[in-house]
């Protein structure tokens, strides 16, 4: 739960408190809904931020700061209790608050659960060079999967004889493709690679604006979302969305590519309809990429 509160010392401004959140995911979602309540709201306001007991890495802190920056908020002070988070904040040159923030309890305002009630998207704020600050994947009209696709999407070919490496034409396109990918990632607020040494279990979800590397498994019911590539050093059995935002050149690769569903850019594929009691059959490391508008799975080729 995030709160907005008035800091107890006079003229100290407003505190955004996401300290009550259990995870980075939750904190970011509350923070983004709080910040985007209204574009005019934050103008000329001193804002402090409380991260409470959240353990955040440098990358995650950068994420949060980018989110605030996107609506013109530069926290003058950030409160955090965990050494890891404090270290990360110092790395980004943020002024740390002492101890816990003092606020006026009577002034605590609950942020509405549903940000749609407020003026959620303000064009003047979001549409400029910072427009990529939206951390979470917000499907826009042109990315929607049509009903036809949803019902009869192409089946992922992992359960068939895996094809050998992509034919020559696809390889020839490669250089321009990587250049394009790079350009795109450099343009986003926080590009780069996010490493996660963790198995994602059902219900857990990770999203990142650059490339995403998971050292662990992605179980059925879990979800990984990235603007760039997704690499799973383990079994990918949940849902993966690479190239979110329209990058059709993104790739999804895993040691065991056994997902329920994958999406790359605007393409969509689902697993075959069959009994999934056993996961022991697999073809070794595989890569999924879009060829001629369709997602295809290839045996992983390290030279590629």
């Amino acid at each position: 739960m995030s709160k907005i509160a008035i800091i107890s010392q006079p003229d100290q401004g407003v505190l955004i408190d996401v300290g009550g959140c259990a995870s980075m995911q939750e904190a970011v979602s509350h923070l983004s809904s709080t910040l985007q309540v209204s574009s005019q709201f934050w103008k000329g306001v001193n804002v402090a931020l409380n991260l409470g007991d959240l353990e955040l890495t440098s990358t995650q802190v950068a994420h949060i700061l980018a989110l605030a920056k996107g609506v013109g908020v530069y926290p003058y002070q950030v409160f955090a209790q965990q050494p890891l988070t404090r270290g990360a904040l110092l790395e980004h040159g943020v002024v740390l608050g002492d101890g816990k923030p003092m606020t006026l309890p009577a002034m605590t305002i609950k942020v509405p659960e549903n940000p749609q009630d407020e003026d959620w998207v303000d064009e003047s704020v979001n549409v400029d060079e910072e427009s990529t600050v939206t951390v979470f994947y917000e499907p826009s009209e042109n990315q929607l999967i049509t009903e036809d696709v949803q019902q009869d999407g192409p089946e992922i070919q992992v359960d068939f004889e895996p094809k050998e490496e992509a034919p020559a034409p696809a390889q020839a396109e490669k250089p321009s493709k990587s250049a394009k990918t790079k350009e795109k990632l450099e343009g986003s607020v926080h590009a780069g690679v996010m490493y996660l040494r963790q198995t994602l279990r059902s219900g857990q979800s990770v999203s990142h604006q650059g490339h995403l590397v998971i050292i662990g498994d992605v179980n059925p019911g879990a979800e990984v979302v990235a603007e760039g590539d997704i690499t799973v050093w383990g079994a990918l059995r949940g849902i993966a969305r690479a190239g979110v935002g329209g990058n059709n050149d993104a790739e999804i690769r895993a040691l065991r590519l056994q997902p329920i569903q994958i999406r790359i850019g605007e393409s969509f594929a689902r697993s075959p309809d069959k009994n999934r009691l056993h996961y022991d059959n697999h073809h070794g490391p595989e890569t999924a990429r879009v060829v001629d508008g369709k997602i295809k799975v290839f045996k992983f080729n390290p030279q590629f």
Partner: protein, 270 residues
């Protein structure tokens, strides 16, 4: 069109709410009605797995409520029957993602599109349950013939009775009954359960291994012909549509050599 919104609930977990939802949904769709199954167990979604539709889920109930997509886009059409639809729960969120008013609004909208809207409620009596019953007009209470499940069902019926104005009808489905154990007085029988709960009986479903197989396959038993439990669920669907269907004869079935032979030649005897 104004359909019926029916919540399927139990209080206790693991008594078969989701299995019953899937099977009653399939059975109702088989009778020709248009049906929408709504998974309200946000954060612990299972109904899509039982229906074998997990790989087709793109948007979910929370996306609809938060207006990230249109209702039609979130509905997953069943692969076997076009008149059966699933509105899946979100897996990466929790029960607080929706509230009662939003559910009421959603149910109103679904009601105008389908003959039957079946809401699969989460276990418990907290906000998840409250949201699940918010838009419902009828309830099906599921229990098994165990003291704890019956106790929880009684609690649920009490909560439903407190909302008499909205929920006009609530009936009981007694699930996983084992006639042989009842005959040996090792298990509560239908009468024992009704004695305590004193509500109208909608159906009795015998314990059946086929349920496990069908759950793993993602094909509800009521869609296939030759299972005892499937027949029980089809009977429930017919009763929901107002037909008079006699209850299965589940008394005193200690096997004699005669019944064994009869069973051998007629395995679908219920």
């Amino acid at each position: 069109m104004s359909g019926r919104v029916i919540v399927i609930t139990s209080g206790k977990g693991g008594v078969g709410k989701t299995t019953a939802s899937a099977n009653i949904g399939v059975a109702l769709a088989n009778t020709g009605a248009s049906v929408c199954l709504v998974d309200m167990d946000i954060g612990l979604r299972n109904l899509d797995i039982l229906m074998g539709l997990e790989n087709r889920v793109v948007y979910n109930l929370v996306d609809v409520v938060e207006e990230r997509c249109k209702l039609r886009q979130a509905l997953v059409k069943d692969k076997r029957m076009p008149n059966l639809n699933l509105l899946p729960a979100a897996q990466t969120r929790d029960k607080t993602a929706v509230d009662a008013d939003q559910m009421k609004k959603l149910c109103e909208e679904l009601k105008s599109m389908f003959d039957f809207v079946l809401i699969d409620s989460p276990a418990g009596i907290e906000s998840g349950f409250q949201n699940a019953i918010a838009g419902a007009e009828e309830a099906i209470v599921i229990t098994t013939p165990e003291m704890s499940a019956v106790r929880d069902a009684d609690r649920i019926i009490g909560l439903l009775e407190a909302r008499k104005d909205e929920i006009t009808q609530y009936r009981l489905v007694l699930n996983r009954i084992r006639p042989k154990m009842v005959a040996n007085a090792d298990m509560m029988g239908v009468d024992d359960v009704l004695e305590i709960l004193s509500i109208k009986l909608l159906g009795v479903v015998p314990e059946d291994e086929d349920i496990i197989i069908s759950t793993n396959k993602g094909e509800p038993v009521s869609g296939t012909d030759n299972t005892r439990s499937g027949l029980a669920f089809r009977n429930i669907a017919r009763r929901l549509r107002g037909e008079e269907v006699p209850f299965m004869d589940l008394d005193a079935k200690t096997d004699t050599w005669v019944t064994k032979i009869v069973n051998f030649f007629n395995p679908v005897r219920v």
